[in-house]
Assembly symmetry: C2
Homo-oligomer: 152 residues x 2
């Protein structure tokens, strides 16, 4: 059996920076890296909103609307990275992620729901309501972290 | 001058997981981490499309459309992380990122444009055209990596 064409094809794919994620199991370490990447970007785009809601940074309605839209997408991204295969990979995830998936899913959906509400409210022009909703989002983030992430 | 209230306020913000990104300079190391996170997620959502375009994974029109929409947002995210302040932070970025910003910006915009075209074409139901556009996106990624990222 000739193996070379397969190897060559794989080399081409690797060179092209492509992964066969859809066809094969993604390595647990990669799943962890990807979910942490989604969390990092949530921090990037939520951080400034938190500062505004607390009056620590000047309010910028356009930035809130843009970041809320980004967060609406980003909060779809981390969860499939918490696959059972990642249970033993070193990370800040608590065992409860895997032992209480129903509660974990509820916490995810609460966060997604509050972000969706922020997207909606961010179009209203009501600064006080927008700031209040930013703080509500923050509570949803904290709520999930308290139950499912190691204290830092 | 009393410094304590400032420190206390910062501690409260840190505890809430908030960053004053909008108000203060973000640390170069954080900028690098954030831009790498965006690249990691681009890999997560582009990888399976590459596999499909090359016939290595079964074609899934819904997945292409979803991932293209995600990529449309993700390809807005890495670039502000290549701030001049990150010039000396260890990463795979080549000096050309900072010495040829016009060419770098052109490469970013080419990638964004090809992703936007993929979003559009992914709604057409024309599998051959969609696969061809996936490969065109891949070329845009590679084009930028060749000029601006260390060989791996």
């Amino acid at each position: 059996m000739k193996r070379k064409p397969v190897v060559a094809a794989l080399a081409v794919i690797a060179a092209a920076g492509l992964m066969l994620e859809a066809a094969a199991q993604v390595k647990p370490e990669i799943l962890v890296k990807q979910r942490q990447a989604a969390m990092t970007l949530q921090g990037k785009y939520f951080g400034p909103l938190g500062g505004m809601a607390q009056g620590k940074a000047p309010y910028n309605a356009d930035l809130v609307a843009r970041n809320a839209a980004y967060l609406d997408v980003l909060t779809q991204m981390p969860w499939d990275g918490f696959a059972a295969s990642t249970k033993d990979v070193k990370s800040a995830a608590l065992p409860e992620v895997f032992t209480d998936p129903a509660k974990f899913k509820e916490a995810q959906e609460r966060t997604q729901g509050e972000i969706a509400r922020l997207v909606s409210i961010s179009k209203s022009g009501d600064e006080a309501a927008i700031k209040a909703q930013i703080l509500t989002v923050n509570k949803a983030c904290d709520n999930c972290h308290e139950s499912f992430r190691e204290k830092r």
